[in-house]
């Protein structure tokens, strides 16, 4: 990130324009964190206050509170400014408890593992 003078803030790639705003951070492992951006540096390391992880499984979602987070920039995919005047999620989505979403995550993980092992078995049979 380039360090800019005060006038350049409007044109530069600096994260300064997102300071003290509510942001969504997408991480390389697929996690979605939300919170208030309090600090950043040239590596896109970031400090997120009031952070929570938004876990989405199908039509269900849950926000798991995390507190104060320091995110290492190499894990960051995207930092998005969340427009507070817009809906954060489509209206058909259902908010569930942490236990419920963890259960749904487990089911999804097991289903994709099963698909993976079945595919390996089929590949062994060499069906071309």
């Amino acid at each position: 990130m380039s360090w800019a003078g005060p006038e350049d803030i409007y044109l530069s790639t600096s994260l300064a324009s997102y300071l003290d705003r509510k942001i969504l951070v997408l991480l390389r492992d697929g996690r979605k964190l939300m919170g208030t951006l309090r600090s950043f540096d040239q590596f896109a390391n970031a400090v997120l206050e009031g952070a929570c992880e938004r876990v989405i499984v199908g039509e269900q979602y849950c926000d798991i509170p995390l507190g104060l987070y320091v995110i290492r920039g190499e894990n960051v995919v995207l930092i998005g400014e969340m427009d507070t005047e817009r809906e954060e999620l489509p209206p058909h989505m259902i908010r569930v408890s942490e236990t419920e979403i963890k259960r749904a995550q487990k089911v999804e993980r097991e289903a994709s593992e099963l698909r993976g092992t079945m595919r390996k078995r089929m590949e062994f049979l060499d069906f071309d």
């Binding site: 960051v76 995919v77 995207l78 998005g80 969340m82 507070t84 809906e87």
Partner: protein, 93 residues
């Protein structure tokens, strides 16, 4: 340096950035830096239904290291100018 200067000339154009995690975002190129980090404005996600969490995001910062492609309008590029610049760069000038 070449692509940084090239993208600087494209500021204001509509582009689609495709990321390594397969997410594709369309928006107006707001700014770019030496790491080819990109800031987009007025963003919409391609295939919005697959990424419900991005619904309220209208401006974003994309880390250069996660970009796979930047898709441009075909007439948004002066190809000859780019060829000349690349040749000059290759020559070491």
């Amino acid at each position: 340096m070449l692509f940084f200067l090239y993208f600087k000339d494209l500021v204001g154009q509509e582009v689609t950035v495709e990321l390594k995690n397969d997410l594709a975002i369309r928006g107006t190129l707001h700014s770019v830096d030496q790491y080819l980090n990109i800031k987009l404005e007025n963003t919409r996600v391609v295939d919005q239904d697959k990424y419900p969490h991005m619904l309220s995001v209208r401006n974003c910062f994309i880390r250069g290291s996660v970009v796979r492609y930047v898709q441009l309008p075909p007439d948004g590029v002066d190809v000859d100018l780019l060829h000349d610049a690349a040749r000059r760069e290759a020559r070491g000038g």
